[in-house]
């Protein structure tokens, strides 16, 4: 059997995007939740809980973009112009929140300003990513190897819904992260928020899932055609399982379980999107094979990726391990 390089690469890119979504997801979520924690000492602890890792988390976004350029240049060259506005907003928002990590410790007078910048940046980045995802799901027209749609095509009720959904989902990740990493008042409040955002996240997943099949007959067939429904039926079952574990963790005070279950919800949602897309990479215009760079490019980078990605995962895991456990509220380099 011949090795299907574009398919392998689609898997690696999907993995990078998923890694980005869940890792930057929780630290964006912490930013989204800042308004619910008005006390300075709470915010200090919250920010210190993600400060050592946010930078690595965001690197997965660069891998997603850079990887797409390397192995699916046509997808990169059509998706980004189609999502011009949401991508630009996301980039600007990431600037506002990224610098807040350092700036807010450098000033007393303007501290609230950088808190605002952190909140607005995190929320806008999450929203823009959700909108971009929705716009991608609803399809991008391509002609002559170029984006062939209008400048406002990305803005639809559906993409706004996915934008809101992702903000809520990230808030859930952030809340369960805080449950896991903090103690005392912050943890109590975070547990309450986690409870509400879990319910809201699942409602949103339901709404998006109900809407998606009607965007394109392809999706309808993919989800509800026979025998696909046997497999796609497993996704809601998995969601129910994660919901159960999440609640159990919250009520029984098993503080790691909610975070892992919330990650599970994201993985399932991601698989759902994957089922809808395949074999397209730009739905429903360009397939994985059409967008792929020549095999020489795919092999060259694959050799490195097979060696380097496990190493990256190893030292990323190590970095998380170094900062494991509950936060000591008095620690932090700042």
């Amino acid at each position: 059997m011949e090795i299907d390089l574009p398919f392998i690469w689609a898997g690696i890119i999907a993995f990078a995007v998923l890694a980005y979504v869940i890792m930057d997801g929780f630290d964006l979520g912490v930013g989204i939740l800042f308004p619910f924690f008005p006390e300075k000492h709470e915010r200090d602890v919250m920010m210190n809980s993600i400060a050592p890792v946010w930078d690595g988390n965001e690197t997965w976004l660069v891998l997603g973009g850079g990887g797409l350029l390397a192995v699916f240049p046509l997808a990169y060259a059509t998706i980004l112009p189609a999502l011009y506005a949401p991508i630009t907003i996301m980039l600007l928002a990431l600037i506002f929140r990224g610098v807040a990590f350092e700036y807010r410790w450098r000033t007393k007078r303007a501290e609230h300003l950088w808190d605002m910048s952190f909140i607005a940046g995190s929320t806008a980045a999450a929203f823009a990513q959700g909108v971009a995802l929705g716009a991608l799901v609803q399809g991008i027209p391509v002609a002559n190897r170029a984006y062939a749609g209008g400048w406002w095509d990305w803005l639809t009720p559906f993409s706004l819904l996915t934008g809101v959904a992702l903000v809520i989902g990230y808030a859930l990740l952030g809340a369960t992260w805080l449950v896991m990493k903090t103690t005392g008042g912050i943890a109590i409040k975070a547990r309450r928020i986690a409870l509400r955002t879990t319910v809201a996240t699942i409602v949103m997943m339901g709404l998006v899932s109900l809407w998606t099949p009607f965007l394109d007959p392809l999706y309808l067939e993919r989800w509800f055609g026979w025998p696909n429904i046997l497999f796609s039926g497993l996704v809601p079952l998995g969601v129910a399982g994660c919901f159960f574990l999440l609640m159990r963790g919250l009520f029984r005070r098993r503080d790691v379980l909610p975070f892992l279950s919330a990650l599970g919800l994201f993985v399932l949602g991601f698989i759902g999107i994957g089922i809808s897309f395949y074999p397209y990479i730009v739905p429903t215009s360009v397939t994985i094979h059409e967008a792929a760079a020549p095999d020489e490019s795919l092999i060259f980078l694959l050799v490195g990726a097979l060696f380097l990605v496990p190493m990256i995962l190893a030292y990323t895991a190590y970095a998380y391990w170094v900062f494991r456990g509950k936060m000591n509220p008095d620690e932090g380099y700042h």
Binding site: L74, A85, V99, R106, E296, S297, G304, I312
Partner: protein, 473 residues
């Protein structure tokens, strides 16, 4: 409001603006990461407190600059797609994997170990902490390696073929990565980054020495920085010369623009020191020139013929005045750096390095010179390779996305506003941190720093105390 503008021009301005802002941070952090690794190593080796203190001082500044570099860099990695999608589609199979290697081998290394370097000394112990610092330094150099390989390939493309979709496809990866201009450009840029950092470190040291404050720390910084200049500035001039000869071989038109040679010189070209390029008339007005010196520098022969821009169709000329000026700015600053290095060496030999106030004033004045020189150098090479993106094969005008001017214009304005506000604030905070080298400044630092080993106990938080200190100085 942008209907009357050209989307291509706006996209070019946007790229020039965002990449110029971005390069400032790597130019500083590449050198600073290595400096931190050296300081950390010296601390472990000698156990002199001053090295640890300087390390901690620059570590905070590094964190700020690195953060700004990361966020402005993410913009770059997506702007290829939003504004230059045709280029991305066609050149992606060649340059994409190189950037992929940059992310995999360098960005993750930096980002993964940065947290440990900044926050983890107590948690992982000194040895591992030093290892993390080294990894960050190696990561910054690795990212320079790959991104300069990409840029050099665009300047001197090699090792590729074209497919029927019009894409550049890889043929020989070794030839692509180590394309003809890459080794020179890499060396020139890494040395530039080290010089930039040395100038900043030297200026901070000089500032405190001139104020007679924190003399031990300031003195160590100043001395280390001046050693760097003494050794590296002459090397950089030699590397720049080699790079120039390489450019003459592969991109002669760029050199014609740098030299201001509108006309061909069949028997020895003059070195134009100064003058005003006049593109309309295709000549240099008010030129001050040294006969035949350009031929001597470029061809090592006083009478060697040198072609001018008159041998090239006008539509393939780069914008000569920009290249002409930026090249001269870079070279003059390079010479000034070498002068500072030599002067400091002479002063050191006389044992007056830490007391030579005119020298320290010049070092202070030269603090930002590295940034200016790096920008001027990049402007020379990037404007000089116009009108191509992939030199000789793909025009800039054919690379742009099918975008409309209002979309590019609106995002351009947003980037300008945000960058000036955000990076302006960042620069302000960095400058303020640079001013706080003394123990009492550190103790008085506005945030409640929990881990300070020094014996002075911080007083109760008093928001006015800081302002009083500043006024007191």
């Amino acid at each position: 409001m942008f209907e009357n503008f050209d989307a291509l021009l706006l996209a070019r301005i946007q790229f020039a603006f965002t990449v110029s802002f971005h390069i400032i941070f790597p130019a500083f952090t590449i050198g600073l990461a290595s400096y931190l690794a050296v300081l950390n190593g010296l601390w472990i080796w000698t156990r002199r407190q001053v090295y640890l203190d300087i390390f901690n001082f620059w570590k905070t500044i590094f964190a700020l600059s690195f953060g700004m570099g990361v966020v402005s860099g993410i913009v770059m990695s997506y702007q290829f797609g939003t504004n230059w999608s045709v280029f991305s589609d066609r050149a992606g199979p060649v340059i994409g994997p190189l950037m992929g290697y940059e992310v995999l081998s360098a960005f993750f290394l930096e980002a993964g170990f940065l947290g440990i370097m900044l926050f983890g000394r107590q948690r992982v112990g000194e040895k591992l902490h030093f290892f993390a610092t080294l990894m960050v330094a190696i990561g910054t150099l690795g990212s320079a390696f790959w991104i300069l390989s990409v840029n050099s390939w665009m300047q001197t493309p090699a090792g590729f073929a074209m497919n029927e979709a019009g894409q550049f496809v890889p043929d020989d990866w070794w030839a692509i990565v180590f394309n003809p201009s890459f080794p020179y450009r890499l060396l020139h840029m890494v040395l530039a980054a080290y010089l930039t950092t040395a100038l900043v470190v030297g200026a901070v040291g000089a500032w405190h020495l001139l104020r007679n404050r924190a003399r031990e720390k300031a003195g160590v910084m100043f001395s280390m920085a001046m050693w760097m200049l003494t050794i590296v500035a002459p090397l950089q001039i030699a590397a720049g010369d080699m790079h120039g000869l390489n450019t003459l071989e592969h991109q002669p038109v760029k050199v014609m623009a740098m030299e201001g040679h509108y006309e061909s010189h069949p028997d020895g070209a003059p070195l134009i020191l100064f003058g005003i390029p006049n593109s309309a008339e295709q000549r240099i007005d008010y030129a001050i020139e040294i006969p035949k010196l350009s031929s001597l520098i470029l061809k090592h022969d006083l009478n060697a013929p040198l072609d001018g821009l008159d041998t090239i169709p006008q539509e393939l000329h780069p914008p000569v005045p920009i290249v002409f000026w930026s090249f001269r700015i870079m070279v003059s600053l390079g010479m000034a750096m070498a002068t500072l290095g030599l002067w400091s060496f002479w002063s050191r030999r006389k044992g007056r390095l830490l007391f030579n106030r005119p020298l320290q004033r010049m070092a202070l004045l030269m603090g930002p010179a590295g940034f200016v020189a790096v920008l001027a150098g990049w402007i020379t090479t990037e404007v000089g390779r116009q009108p191509y993106t992939v030199y000789g094969h793909m025009l800039t005008a054919d690379s742009v996305s099918p975008i409309s001017a209002p979309a590019v214009g609106a995002s351009l304005i947003a980037f300008i506003v945000v960058y000036f506000a955000i990076f302006g604030a960042g620069t302000f905070y960095i400058l303020r941190l640079m001013g706080r080298l003394r123990e009492e400044d550190l103790q008085d630092d506005i945030k409640e720093a929990p881990i300070r080993t020094a014996g002075i106990t911080p007083g109760p938080p008093n928001p006015h105390r800081h302002e009083e200190m500043l006024r007191g100085n």
